[in-house]
Every structure is written in C-alpha cells, then in structure tokens.
C-alpha cells in the first residue's frame, strides 16, 4: 500500500456525525497532498459556508487524528476550506486545543462529546430500523423480533446486523439482543412497534439530510468540478499521483442506503 492509499483508507474511517457516512463518500475530502520527503496535507470542504461549526470541528479533528495514526505520515496538516470559521477551526485543531477554547462566545455548548453521542445514538436507532426492515422482508415474523438475538438476526441479515454492531461498538453498548436501547437492554414486545416507528423517522431524517447535503455540495462546487482535470492531481505531489476526482463516482445521485 502506498502512503496515499493508506491516508485515503484512514480518512474513510472519519464520519460526518450527523449524516453517519464516511467523509470520503460524501465528497468532503477535496484534496490529499503527500509531501516529499515527508508530511501529508488534507483539504476538507463542506456543503455550505455556514455548516454548523461544532460538526465541522469534529470532522477536522477526527481527520487529523486518523491521518496522524498512519505510519510514516510525518507532519500532518488538515484544513477546512471555504467556511465562515475556517481559520478558527484550522488553528484550533492544529494546536490541539479544545473547541470551547477556540471560540470566545458567551453561550457556547462546550461539550462536543455529548453532541457526538447524541448523533451516534440516532445512527444506532436508524441502523436498527434498517435491520428490522431487512428481517421482515426476509420472512422473519414480526412477533419474534423482541426476543431475537443479534446473532440470530445476523443469519437472516448479515449486513444489517453488522451495521448495528458497528454503531454499538462506537457507543460502547454491549448487548446480545437484536434490538436494544442505549443501555443495552432489550425493547419489550409492547414497546417495540412504536420504538421502530420512531426509528424510521430518524432514518428518513438522516438519509434525507445526506442527500440534501450532497446536492448542496455539488451545487457549491459545480464550477470547480467543471475546471477539474486529472492533470491537476498529477501536480499535487511528486510521489504517487492522486487520481481521485473532485467528487466521488456517481456523485449527485442519491447514495445507496448504507449497510
């Protein structure tokens, strides 16, 4: 693996916390430059000038951590482009200071950790609903869902169960149940239908936002994309040529539902 492909793989582990998708799929990574003899620069961009700074901060900081963990990356620079607080975020993340310290506002929600948890819980809920849908479609009776184990669910819907397991891992939820709450306790039969009904609304909301954000990103950077030529990538680095286009393949169409 080249350093460039390792950096790309590392970035694919960074997710938009709200959209629950890798930033690489969303088109938020606009450029990766591998410097000679050492060092990596990553440029990120978002769908609007005013995208919420707290989420932007999380993505920039996560990207910096992910790339810094790649062996041989050397000095890592991650910058956010075209955002109303780009300079505050870039300077703050580079100095490894906290979000709250980087903004001198009187009414700041300083706890990014709780924000992240809120959205990871939503992602877990949405993944659970996708799993329930897949199970029902494969003929599992609705009445059996409350007492189903995740292992049993996995035999009917391996991808759906794996997606649920991944979200639980991020949240630190330990549970053998296919459907469980944030503490890992099962959802009882009386509560499950309404729990899944709300989960569906969460899923619709997350998927819809992902599509909307992608559309806005596409509109915002339409002109750059038109100007783009693969030759530009050759110029980014004298090491391995970076051949990814400005936008992922199939860009502008709805992303397929993620497993």
């Amino acid at each position: 693996m080249t350093l460039l492909s390792e950096v790309t793989a590392a970035l694919s582990s960074v997710r938009d916390p709200e959209l629950d998708r890798p930033v690489t799929d969303l088109g938020f990574v606009s450029r990766i430059t591998v410097k000679i003899p050492s060092g990596v620069r990553v440029e990120l961009r978002l769908p609007t000038y005013f995208c919420a700074p707290n989420f932007a901060w999380l993505m920039v900081a996560d990207a910096r951590d992910a790339v810094a963990a790649v062996p041989g990356a050397g000095q890592v620079e991650v910058v956010l482009l075209d955002h109303f607080v780009s300079s505050e975020i870039n300077a703050g993340v580079a100095a490894a200071s906290s979000f709250a310290d980087s903004f001198s506002s009187d009414d700041l929600d300083s706890s990014l950790a709780s924000l992240r948890t809120t959205f990871e819980r939503k992602a877990h809920l949405a993944a659970s609903e996708r799993l329930a849908r897949a199970l029902l479609a494969s003929g599992v009776p609705a009445a059996s869902l409350p007492s189903l184990s995740l292992a049993a669910a996995s035999s009917s819907s391996p991808a759906g169960a794996a997606a649920v397991a991944r979200r639980r891992e991020r949240l630190g939820i330990v549970s053998s149940w296919a459907f469980c709450d944030d503490r890992g306790d099962p959802i009882d039969a009386a509560r499950l239908p309404q729990w899944l009904r709300f989960a569906r609304t969460v899923r619709v909301s997350i998927d819809g936002n992902a599509g909307f954000c992608q559309g806005l990103l596409e509109t915002r950077y339409r002109a750059e994309r038109a100007k783009y030529s693969p030759q530009d990538d050759q110029n980014l680095t004298t090491a391995t040529p970076w051949t990814s286009p400005w936008l992922p393949q199939g860009y502008g169409k709805d992303l397929p539902a993620e497993a």
């Binding site: 609007t48 009187d106 929600d109 909301s205 819809g208």
Partner: protein
C-alpha cells in the same frame, strides 16, 4: 384560487420574503456568505426554467415579486416573514417596516409578521409594542440563531423570551413562527434543537408555535415534540422544493408529518424568493405518495392538500376563505 380536476385550492403562502441581499447592502463576508448560501439552495432545488442568476437573486423588484406570487403564481394571500440580520446587512435583510410598506402598497395581498429579539431587553418590549401599533401584527418570525454582538443565539425558554411571549399574548400576537431549519446561520450551539419550543409551547398554550422548515434536518425531533404539544405546527418552507428533485424524499417527509401530527397542523410556504409558489403549488396538487410507500404512509387526499395549502393557515390567521 387554484383549480385542478374540479377541486379548488385557496392558497396562503405561509413564508415569503422581500429582501435586499445585494452587495451594496452587505456589511461583511457573513452577509455575502448568507445570500450565496440561499442562492445555492435555490439553484440546487429549483427546476431549470425557474433558475435565477446571483445578481437577480440578491435583489428583485416589487413588480417581479407581485408577478411571481399573484399573477403567474397562485397565492391568494402571502405572509411576509421579517428577517432583520442587522449585524450583516446595512438596512436589514427584510425588516417589518420594509415588509409593511410593501403590504400597504398592495392591499389585500399580504399579511405582515414582525419579530422580536429577547436580547433587546426592556427597550425591545416597548419597541415590539410600537411595531404592533403601527402594523397590527398577527404574528412574529423568530430566529433563535441570529447573531447579536458576541452572542450567537438565544432560546425560547430563556427568561427574557418568556417576557416577550407574555407581551405577544397581551397584544394579541398569537402566531409565533420559529426558524429551526437548515444551516444558514453561523452558530456554535446546536441551533436546530427544538427542545426550547417544547418548553415555550407548554408554558403558552394560547400561542401557536409554527416551526419553520419542520425542524429539518431534525425532522424526528420536531415530530416528537409536536405530537406532545397541540399548539405546535409545521411550516413546509424548504421541504416543498424536494417535490421536484427528490420526490421520494418529499413523500417520506410528508408521510412522517401526516403520521405524527396529522393534516391539520401542516402549513404551506414557498420561502420566496428561494423558490416560487407557481411550480410548488402545481407539483404539490399533482403529487401522490408513490405506490410502494403507500403501505407505510397511506395517500395524500385532495382534502389534506386543501388544508395544507391554505385552510390551516386561514384558521390560524382568521382569514375568511371565499366559498
């Protein structure tokens, strides 16, 4: 009145603007970023034949607006939602006075909503009273994420906000539109959080809280509080244009809303000049939930469409709908 297939639809456009976002009125890069962000929304979700260039979009004439809403558009009545943003625009983006004079020049066509900002304290309460005296406000439009000096926002549950809501109640201003919607404001708190609407709606059961943009991108949070508060309504501005580019997503949004809050608490709005009521109304009246989603969501009946397009707003604003 818009008629299609023997059904008449009285149209109240619950969300319109007569703004000035032109460079001459911009104070700083935030003002510029704001109007460009709106323009991206417009470009991304409008059909080709309704696309405007950025200069056209930054500032448009009164004649153009009247034409788009009432001559080619089907609005019977339009609600002007005041948006000040005076930290970014010299004369404000669109103030109550600017909207009010437009309404006075075009009698019978507009409803003018005012605004308040609880961070204006005691002086602001008096200002609201004077604004109401002058324009007879039936409602206000609030931006909880608006900048004011060092403050990047406020909450409806703040003690000062309650003072202002009490003032609204005593003046008879009953329709409280709250912008909780897609990112257009610089903010560093979670400004989409609708929990403060929940608090205020419980504390003020005689006021109606219309959550603009149905809480998008947090549709589920909005639905959750709206099911518990009978005086919370959903404004469809920003959700409407998905009719064109992403009709299945629109079907899901409207389906979720019908399930959680029902057809009596959903209000149409174009968000003009971001989108135009002509194509929105045409597409909405022609719209149906796709067959494969009807099992989950049911169908959208002509009666529900009539309520959403005008009758629900007529109820809130005491408008007599022509027979």
């Amino acid at each position: 009145m818009y008629s299609k297939d023997g059904v008449d639809y009285y149209i109240i456009d619950g969300h319109t603007h007569f703004w000035d976002g032109s460079p001459a009125n911009q104070i700083n890069r935030y003002g510029e970023g704001f109007i460009k962000c709106f323009h991206d929304y417009h470009s991304n979700l409008s059909p080709d034949e309704y696309q405007w260039s950025l200069p056209e979009f930054e500032r448009y004439s009164e004649e153009k607006m009247i034409h788009d809403l009432f001559e080619v558009g089907y609005d019977d009545l339009a609600i002007l939602q005041s948006t000040y943003l005076t930290d970014w625009f010299v004369n404000g983006f669109n103030t109550t006075a600017q909207n009010g004079s437009l309404a006075e020049r075009n009698p019978g066509r507009f409803i003018v909503n005012g605004r308040f900002d609880p961070r204006d304290g005691e002086a602001g309460l008096e200002k609201l009273e004077r604004l109401h005296e002058r324009w007879q406000l039936p409602g206000v439009k609030l931006y909880t994420a608006e900048w004011k000096g060092d403050s990047k926002g406020w909450k409806l549950s703040d003690p000062w906000a309650y003072r202002y809501l009490e003032k609204c109640l005593s003046l008879g201003i009953r329709n409280i539109h709250v912008h909780k919607g897609p990112t257009v404001y610089p903010m560093n708190r979670d400004a989409f959080d609708v929990a403060d609407v929940d608090d205020a709606a419980t504390a003020f059961p005689d006021l109606r809280f219309i959550v603009e943009h149905v809480g998008l991108p947090r549709l589920e949070d909005f639905c959750w509080i709206a099911t518990q508060e009978p005086n919370v309504y959903g404004g469809l501005a920003v959700a409407m244009p998905f009719l064109h580019s992403r009709p299945r997503y629109f079907a899901q949004i409207i389906g979720e809303l019908l399930y959680w809050i029902g057809e009596d608490r959903i209000l149409f709005g174009s968000d003009y000049a971001i989108w135009q009521p002509k194509w929105l109304v045409e597409k909405f009246v022609d719209f149906q939930i796709p067959d494969d989603l009807q099992g989950e969501y049911g169908v959208l009946t002509p009666d529900a469409k009539r309520k959403i397009l005008g009758l629900n707003a007529a109820g809130l604003y005491d408008i007599k709908v022509p027979a």
